[in-house]
Amino acid sequence: MSAPHDMSVAELSAALQARQLSSVEVTRAFLERVTRHQADLNAFISITAEAALVEAAQADARLRAKDAGPLTGVPIAHKDIFCTRGEKTTCGSRMLANFVSPYDATVVERLRAAGVVMLGKTNMDEFAMGSSNETSFFGPVKNPWDVARVPGGSSGGSAAAVAARLTPAATATDTGGSIRQPAALCGVTGLKPTYGRVSRFGMVAFASSLDQGGLITRSAEDAALLLGAMAGFDERDSTSVELPVPDYNGVLGQPIKGLKIGVLKEFFDKGLDPEIEQHIRAALDLLRSQGAVIKDVSLPNLPLSVPTYYVVAPAECSSNLARFDGVRYGHRCDNPRDLLDLYQRSRGEGFGAEVKRRIMTGTYVLSAGYYDAFYLKAQRVRQLISNDFERAFHEVDVVIGPTTPTTAFELGAKTSDPVTMYLNDIYTIGANLAGLPAISLPCGLSHGLPTAMQIIGPHFGEERLLNVAHRYQLESDWHRRVPPGFA
């Protein structure tokens, strides 16, 4: 049998059920790797070893008593944006550096109920605002494929931890690409579900009409197993959708003969690394050989995704982050002169540069005299982008394109100009604006760095996405590649 860190969630589940491994053994093995690689990767903000071993022992008791589900005893890491009762939830910010959650996020609660063991909380861009993990108050995460390069962001810790085999899987969140972009740059699988599919309760809010919780895993099969336990209606999230959760795992492996795949013309126009394009074309050939029908589709408004996003997301961020006032929780400045000084200095000190830039952008576009010109205009263009996707899904079942324009870039390469950094998310933002599910899969290596493709589906099309991704992963082995030094 392989070592625990070489095993997928599905394999660990089978070994735990068969009692070939105990959850305590598995948990210890992963905790050892998490601790060993903390100095070189900085993938975690908190390592919750003690609590993990208690949960693992409880899982073993359930497994012995045959009172276990398929995920009982499997370890996982949570992005530090999800509230975890009794443990710190920092959101990568000085503002929440000492915040101890009084309750569990619904995602955490559901996975806990399924018997999943939490190893710790993963590093992230501050308040999920960033595409390189360099805005974290706790320092950048390093990409396990090359530690001089970024892992992507904002879920950079989750992606690096899964790629380096520090955890079999990790939760993550995606507002403009924060699951898919780091998954792409780290060579792992990243699933952003449909808006409303996974509860946002207890997930620190950034842009509430875009935020969605999801997963970073080694394969689509593992994502299917975990999504089933995470997803579903939650009355505590007013945007949670009342739809039954399908058996995601049950549909995997269905033939894709006749499946219509649209190739997003606008994504291949310019600015895409030619090697990434080659790898995606090769992946499309592989899917064609399994019977899929490939055709070009055009979404003419899609190139306006980035400017649309940089009105809508900062506007919602400026409103959501108004709650940090230095009074009820979070950072408070020393010796405030008066209430206004307390608010201004607590926020000025507690937030980092990128968060302040977005709060101010949002404040500006919502301010008197500018609301119509910027905010309403952006929401109109957002509708046009959404209409483009809707039209495309009348013609095809899924659309495929790149996840990122380039492979992982060097730390510090894009920090001087915010717009250069924002353009990393040029291919991912569209799915958030339209509320669509999307998955990123590794599809090659270019100069030793992972390349990736993205599959986007219609609303609540997770089963189809996971099935296409699984079919691809059955016939390819890019998702099995391990960064040198982490085998």
Binding site: N301, V327, L340, R347, M360, R380, L384, E390, P418, H459
Partner: protein
């Protein structure tokens, strides 16, 4: 589109953010660049389209009954507060 120093000072005041002197020019440049990017939206003809109100077509904001569902847990919640006395959040004097 370009913003100047007084725009940034005004926005920071509205956003309740204290900025240092050194930070101000960084935000003048950053926000000007961002608003330059946002200017691309002018290319789209939106005369025939309503602003999007929800990412899922046909979805409405769900409402709940106006009933008490939470228990009083202020002690637990106030453990995260910077300054509390007798169950109250302390702030600087507001009325002289």
């Amino acid at each position: 589109m370009s913003l100047n120093r007084s725009d940034i000072v005004n926005i920071a005041r509205l956003a309740r953010l204290a900025l240092t002197e050194q930070e101000i020019p960084l935000y003048v440049e950053g926000l000007s660049r961002i608003m330059g990017l946002v200017g691309e939206l002018d290319r789209a003809d939106t005369s025939q389209v309503e602003p999007m109100a929800h990412p899922l077509p046909g979805q409405r904001q769900r409402l709940r009954f106006d009933s008490v569902t939470e228990t009083d847990r202020h002690e637990l919640y106030q453990r995260n507060a910077p300054q509390v006395e007798a169950g109250l959040y302390l702030v600087p004097r507001v009325i002289e």
